[in-house]
Amino acid sequence: MRFLGWHRWRIAGAWVLGTGTILAGIGLLASSGYLISAAALRPPILDLLVVIVSVRFFGISRAVLRYGERLLSHDITFRLLMRMRSRFFASIQALPASRLLGYRSGNLLSSVTSDIDELQNFYVRVITPFTVAFISSVIAFLFIRLFSPSAAWVTLGLLSVNGAFVPLLLRLLARGIGTSQVRLRSRLYRLWIEMTQGIQDIRLYNLQKAYNEQYNNLCERIDRAERRQSVFTGLQDALLQWTMFGAVIVSLVVTAPVVLSGELEGVMMALVIFSVMAAFESTQNLGSAFQYLESTEKAADNLFSLESGERPHTRNKTDGGKIFDSINRTAYSDNLNIALKSKVKTRAINRDPDILFEKVDFAYGRHQVLNGIGFPMETGSKTAVVGPSGSGKSTLLNLLLRFYDPDAGQIRVGGRNSMYWHPEDIRAAISVVDQSTYLFNDTLRENLLLAHHGADDHMLLQALQDAHLMEWYNMLPNGLDTYLGEHGKQLSGGERQRLAVCRALLKNAPVWILDEPTANLDTITEKSLVQTIRKALEGRTALWITHRLVQMDYFDRILVLEEGRITARGRHHVLIKKEGWYRDMMHLQSNLLADRV
């Protein structure tokens, strides 16, 4: 994994410490065995001083090495996590932001971030145990071979059985059970969600019993699967014992004749037995390492499949990129942007730019969304885009903001093709109010400063007032320092939308885009929010996307967008006289509200 390259010296250090720990364990037992064997021959005590000292040395160093290894491993984990997050953020921000919206991608992102959390285990719990086990097994093998080559080979063989073969075999045997458990648990999870979210309807349709049965059944199946699995985990425990002591028994059997024949000094016999026993510490934890290997593999798979899943949609040419593309690539696109910026930013976008769509075509993949769209937005004018849902209204916004670029035609901003502006310059000139206003889990102040760095409290309060939020603000416990909570959950829809307006006011951009800013609001709130926005729009250029035809005579120009084409345009009083979608909808609406108050 390329992440490991970032901290190779630290990682090598952790490996050395880890291997050292196991070797110190072998050293401790081997020297102890040698000590008492040699002592049994009753030499002068001075002869054994070196051994006595080394027994103590190994005893202390083992503990010290283990401590160091744990600290270093955790340090590396945190560093890796930081790097992975940072890099993931860098690559994901290069994706077209319009793809990062919506129900599914929200879930997707949260699963991706937990995949990253999972991946951090890869180093400490997978790579390190394997490497350490491998190195220390080899060293133990070389050490034991000094005394008894046959015992050394037997040990090496059984070490690999113990560390690799047994875990792999058991995983293979229990694999079906493991995956069925995962499946059962995710079904259980879905059933819970269904039950809690549908609890009213479940009651109403008298389905409790059915749900209880289904749930209990599922739980019992999980219970049975777990118990079947325990047959294998128990077998694994037994096999690990058997291989370890098998190695001890065989070592005993093969060293006995060589001791008797005098090839091996008798004092070394206990040393060999102890070394063999201690060597098995190295493979002890590989069982869980295999488990983590599987889960991190899955996480990595998810991340990479995400990358390939993105491909068909990645149409845009400026912000393009795959989620887990190489860091170089991200750096490249950043450089490209910077290069573009330095080259083209000969002048800033002027204070009040006019905007012109010229024969703009755009398709998501094969799905043609916009066809030959052309219209002007003069400075200070108000343009409405209406039409049935799915007609491509929101795509206009994404194109103007350069989340996408047109396939054909161009959008001129301040007299110049938007492709030649840096996306950041364009976005700086536009305030957006849509329904997907994201509130960060931070203070109100931070959430507002986002729109205007360095604004002072007075300005923030003024903006809150202009967005008609003072009443709400006065009820906050800590004023501007109040935390808005996860996704601003405590806020009502109307408050959230007002905060969006408040941000837009603070940004003070000459152009405003509004994408159904009042969707999901009740009519009373809708009315007052619209008034707030209209007041803010005085003297600014605005593009307002809506599917509800309310007070349409406000607009200088109304565009009717149907299936990617502009089918009618003009002011309200003109359109209402023409046959077509607009008049039909207006009639429908007024029929609903026939006999007036």
Binding site: L29, S32, I36, A40, P44, L48, V51, I52, V55, A63, R70, L71, H74, F78, S86, F88, F89, Q93, A97, R104, W192, I193, E194, M195, I199, Q200, D201, I202, R203, N206, Y215, T233, G234, Q241, W242, G246, I249, A256, L260, G266, M269, A270, I273, R427, I430, V432, Y438, N441, L450, A451, E486, N520, D522, I524, R548, V550, Q589, S590, L592, R596
Partner: protein
């Protein structure tokens, strides 16, 4: 909040509910100690015979057989022990899962609304799973730690009291020192883990808000912030871990130093001829085994802590007394539910039915009378409904209007018996509602709203819930009447399309139409319509308006209205204000006579301006 020590206690209580597995684990511990002693004895005999006695393999056959037998036995003990503990752990988890499900169902919709369903599900699935480590790993390790070392120590004491003394003195010091350090570090460590989780939420927050960050050209700054915060966190955590890992360090140090001490002490005595080589080797072989259970316990301690953390949330759900109000709908509340709800006294009179329940199927339009209803939510001080009285006339449409928070939803909850009134009564055809069998009552109601719920099956099956014996033509007819047929049949698999993804993509209007189709199928005598307060596009509004006209018919209908068009469709309009009905009449009468109504009507009319 249930704190750690108390959730520890509760977990323990659950474990002690089943004695056998833990007694068996203790027995296995004893057997395993016996096996390891026999094993090491055999080893020491064999090495002694070869090294000191100069004997060949045939002479140590019996020792070898002893070793082999002990090894096999030890493996088998491990195996069986795993089966027993896993069975116990799985059974406890099964029990907790069932209890959780039951509890949440009993709590009902009013309580569930205050919870995040994802979090509840995660607690029941992953949270309960964490208890596995507690019961199948942590507790057995504790039992082993209590038994194995004691047996070995006693035995060593018996054959060589000096070594025995070393073991007996050092062994108990390990837990003492570990807990001393652990206590100092624990709070800090827990705080750090909590920060770690927050950090991960912060990151998710940044990723989900990316579009907004981009709109304000703020990504670069956020990126820096992520790095800075992570690094700061790493530094502070490492500071805490330096202390926290000391307990592991002490454990290792004691275990290895004591082993070294035993080796040296035996070596010295061997030179002086005070001890036989075989005895010395035997004791030295046993020394690491003595410390092994301590190390194992240390290694599993973290899993145990995670288990208790998860448990505290589980017990919180099982026992949470606040925020509910739904004991009414269990005819036989389980003892646990009653004990924990804390509102027992209030409901004990109604939940036990004094008279045989009335079970007549009600298929005639009926008359509902609501008298002096009073209700307050347990979490709120002031009552939502105060002395609310109204009639719902048979075969007529009654519209209920009022500002948000005026008690409209509470009234629906009372009518569908999700909650029980504190005071007052609801009667149906003159019969008190609490004397009607709940299912019979619910059978005669249809509720139409925008939050219709879908389970993971075909659309067809999802429609069928409202009348399981409906034929396919009836279902299609209902959808046609509800204006839902066109968009359902436009799907690639039509009525066979699985919900799931589909449900997520449905617009508010489409959801409502499916809900209306369910009501058509159910064809119940009483209809409750809870209108969404947000406006739809004109096309959907028109379709739904027509469908509702068909649905209302001669049915007894109660509408929580947000639309002027719906209000005008009603025969009677009631204005709910401050927990009681403040005005009644038709549209024109109320416009003239009720100030609140005319205010609201004006803002409804905003649609048509």
């Amino acid at each position: 909040m249930t704190d750690h020590s108390s959730s520890h206690k509760r977990l323990f209580q659950l474990a002690s509910g089943r004695r056998t597995p833990w007694l068996l684990t203790g027995l296995f511990s004893l057997l395993s100690a016996a096996a390891i002693i026999a094993l090491m004895y055999g080893l020491s005999i064999a090495v002694d015979a070869v090294f000191m006695g100069g004997l060949g393999l045939p002479a140590v056959t019996s020792a070898l057989l002893l070793i082999i037998g002990a090894v096999i036995a030890r493996g088998l003990i491990f195996w069986i022990s795993e089966l027993v503990t896993q069975k116990a752990a799985s059974e406890i988890k099964l029990d907790i899962r069932k209890r959780l499900f039951r509890t949440v169902q009993q709590r009902g919709p009013v309580w569930t609304e205050t919870q995040s369903s994802g979090e509840l599900a995660a607690t029941a699935v992953e949270g309960v799973e964490k208890l596995d480590a507690y019961y199948a790993r942590f507790i057995p390790a504790g039992i082993h730690m209590a038994i194995l070392p004691s047996v070995i120590a006693v035995f060593v004491f018996w054959i060589d009291w000096i070594s025995g003394l070393i073991l007996v003195v050092t062994g108990p010091l390990i837990p003492v020192f570990m807990s001393l350090i652990g206590m100092r570090a624990r709070d800090k460590t827990q705080k750090q883990w909590a920060t770690l989780r927050r950090l991960s939420t912060h990151f998710l927050d940044a990723v989900q808000g990316l579009r907004t960050l981009k709109l304000y050209n703020h990504t670069g700054k956020k990126h820096e912030e992520i790095e800075k915060i992570s690094d700061r966190f790493r530094k502070s955590t490492m500071g805490v871990l330096k202390v926290a890992f000391l307990s592991g360090f002490i454990l290792e140090l004691f275990a290895s130093l004591a082993t070294a001490l035993v080796a040296v002490e035996i070596g010295v005595r061997l030179i002086e001829g005070q001890i036989a080589f075989q005895t010395g080797l035997f004791v030295l072989l046993l020394a690491p085994e003595y410390y092994l259970p301590f190390r194992l316990f240390g290694a599993r301690h973290h899993a145990g802590m995670e288990g208790t953390e998860a448990a505290s949330r589980i017990f919180e759900i099982l026992e949470d007394g606040g925020g509910n109000g739904n004991e009414y709908n269990n005819c036989k509340p389980s003892p646990t539910a009653v004990m924990t709800t804390g509102r027992l006294s209030k409901d004990s009179g109604t939940s036990v039915l004094p008279n045989p329940p009335l079970c007549s199927p009600m298929h005639t339009p009926f008359y509902i009378q609501i008298e002096g209803l009073e209700y307050s939510y347990p979490s709120k001080m002031s009552p939502v409904l105060t002395d609310c009285s109204l009639d719902i006339l048979p075969g007529k449409t009654t519209a209920l209007v009022g500002k948000s928070g005026s008690g409209k939803t509470t009234l629906i909850r009372l009518l569908t018996r999700q909650i029980t009134p504190d005071k007052g009564a609801i009667t149906v055809q003159g019969i008190s509602l609490d004397r009607i069998e709940e299912q019979d009552w619910l059978q005669s109601i249809s509720v139409v709203n925008q939050n219709s719920w879908f389970f993971d099956d075909s659309i067809f099956a999802n429609l069928l819930v409202s009348r399981p014996d409906a034929t396919e033509t009836e279902v299609v007819d209902a959808c046609k009447a509800a204006g839902a047929h066109s968009f359902i049949s436009g799907l690639p698999e039509g009525y066979r399309t699985r919900t799931g993804e589909f449900a997520a993509r449905l617009s508010g209007g489409e959801r409502q139409r499916i809900s209306i189709a369910r009501a058509f199928l159910r064809n119940s005598p009483f209809l409750i319509l809870d209108e969404p307060s947000s406006a739809l596009d004109p096309e959907s509004e028109a379709i739904i308006g027509e469908a509702l006209d068909r649905l209302f018919g001669d049915r007894t209908t109660l509408v929580i209205a947000h639309r002027l068009s719906t209000v005008r469709r009603a025969d009677r309009i009631l204005v709910l204000d401050d927990g009681k009905i403040s005005a009644e009449g038709n549209h024109q009468q109320l416009l003239a006579g009720c100030k609140l109504y005319s205010q609201m009507a004006k803002s409804y009319c905003y649609n048509s301006l």
